[in-house]
Amino acid sequence: MNNSLRLIGTAAVIVILASLSGLASEYMLGIGFTLFMYIALAQSWIILSGMTGYISLGHVVFFGSGAYVFVLLWGLVPVWLGVAISGLVVGIGALMIGYPVLRVRGPYFVILSFGLAELVKNLVLINEARMYMSLRPVFGAPPLAQLYIAMLVLAVVATALTYWIRRSRFGAGLRSIREDEWAAETIGVPASRLKLIAFALSGLIPAMVGAIFIMRSGIFQPGDAFNPIVSFTIVTMAIIGGSDDAAGPLLGVAFLVILQELLWANWPEIYMIILGVLLIGFVLFAPGGILGWCSKNLSRSKKNAA
């Protein structure tokens, strides 16, 4: 009963958000677009990093590669097919590099993920310089209302995927890797395979997000598409939200997107400083994020009442 009510409520919210595409102003659509974009990115990040504990500090590599594949295909295939292909290409690429990359554990993986993103960025930069392309314009992209809907779909799919994985046998396997990979392998969890699948799934959606983002910005520049700030924002959002559940990042994303909207254009340094302070504060004082902090303190007050 409760579950079906919740399902209906969620569906209603999604329908309302979708119908806004015809009603809301360009400005509001833009904010909604950014909101959905980061929801999709943060949820994808959770699939790998939240569940397995392999913290990726370079998730922008999927976003940027997706954007790059899409831009290379621009004009050659229909727009939405291009989006799907870029997701697939990056997903397959993730499967191919995943095995050696995921053998690197713990803090080394964190640094490796960042280095990998920077390496790919520099390779794309060199490739573009060879082709005498410092930037690539994307002309004739679909209107913002359509991009808004597309991003909403990705956000919903990513959230549903995270929600489902979290409750599946697959998700239980992933979380056992986070708690103790050796022990998990010992009791027969196929750790390498699960990690690899999580890695590919975690890259698939950000690649499509990157492709759609390029249509919105109208221009592809390697420095922007592979901007490490995107990775950092994703990590901070997920950590502020806390928990490996689908609800966690929603809180963090909403909070940071509003902050970004208020500060980014005029005071980018202040935005970054607040981001940094939040990250420090949450790691030191609320390692479980907003969600973890709430549940901890609520249960404490319940105990006190009883």
């Binding site: 803090p107 964190v110 640094i111 990998l116 520099n122 060199i126 950092f232 202040i270 990250l279």
Partner: protein, 296 residues
């Protein structure tokens, strides 16, 4: 191919190598004794550079003197960081369980804050100054006085630091802590004190290196990150916590980078450093000189 055998290139590689050795020594101390992954390490280089720059432009004090100021100020920051945050952190079991990841995120936050504060105060523009720019000739090699000074000071400080840490009583205590933290406490080493001084010395050496670097390249608030990456490459290459291995690996990376760029071209510089880094992590995570597995 002639250029590959020129003494000029050799000197350039030595200078880069010595600086890498110096910077990564600080990182190695901090990681080795406390398992803190200091991804803000390069920002200390940046702070050291700005201190030298300010000293020169405000008081007309050259970097060979202000480097001591940079070392003291950065060492002071290390003391402050230890007393205010890490002392508590290292005794908090909840955080200690995932110390490396948590310290990484923490230092990452610190790095973002520091970089942006510096942008607010000094703008994001490149800055620099002229110091000892006359050319000195030694045999076939032509160097600016500043580069020669960096080479000499860098070599002296890094070798002195490695020797001190290897042979002094305090250095032995640090080595003991690197090998086994709990056991060192049992044999009567004051772990708290050694940790604090490791952080102070590590930060101080890096600040000094920053002051030296400020005469070689224009300084910006975001100049630090490549040094963080290089320092991590070096300490993984040399074996985590292995100070002597780190010194050799610093020189090696300097050579790889300078000669690699001479062969391929300047646009490949980042690809080279990141490529070496990724290759090492994937294929030889215990380092070139390392024995056995990386401590987890």
């Amino acid at each position: 191919m002639d250029i590959l055998f020129s003494p000029q290139l050799l000197a350039a590689a030595l200078i880069t190598g010595v600086l890498y050795a110096l910077i990564s020594l600080g990182l190695n101390l901090i990681y080795g004794t406390m398992r803190l992954l200091n991804v803000a390490h390069g920002d200390l280089v940046m702070i050291g550079s700005y201190i030298a720059f300010m000293a020169f432009s405000l008081f007309n004090v050259g970097p060979l003197i202000s480097m001591f100021g940079a070392a003291i100020i950065c060492g002071g920051l290390g003391w402050l960081a230890y007393r205010s945050v890490f002392q508590n952190l290292l005794s908090n079991s909840e955080i200690l369980a995932r110390l490396e990841e948590n310290s990484l995120l923490l230092f990452f936050g610190i790095s973002v804050v520091v970089q942006n504060l510096v942008i607010l105060f000094f703008t994001a523009d490149r800055q620099g100054y002229e110091y000892l720019s006359a050319i000195v000739e030694i045999g076939d090699v032509r160097l600016t006085g500043a580069r020669l000074a960096v080479l000499i000071v860098g070599s002296v400080v890094s070798i002195a630091a490695v020797l001190y840490l290897r042979f002094s009583l305090f250095g032995l205590a640090i080595n003991a802590l690197i090998q086994n933290r709990d056991a060192s406490a049992i044999v009567g080493i004051n772990v708290d004190r050694v940790q604090m001084f490791s952080l102070v010395i590590g930060f101080g050496i890096t600040g000094l290196a920053g002051a030296l670097i400020s005469v070689l390249e224009p300084i910006t608030p975001v100049m630090g990150f490549p040094y963080t990456m290089s320092a991590f490459v070096v300490i993984i290459l040399g074996g985590l916590g292995n100070l002597w291995g780190g010194f050799l690996a610093g020189l090696l990376l300097g050579f790889l980078e300078i000669y690699g760029v001479a062969v391929t071209g300047p646009e490949w510089r980042s690809v080279l450093v990141y490529g070496i880094f990724i290759g090492i992590l994937i294929f030889r995570p215990q380092g070139l000189l390392g024995r056995g597995r990386v401590a987890r």
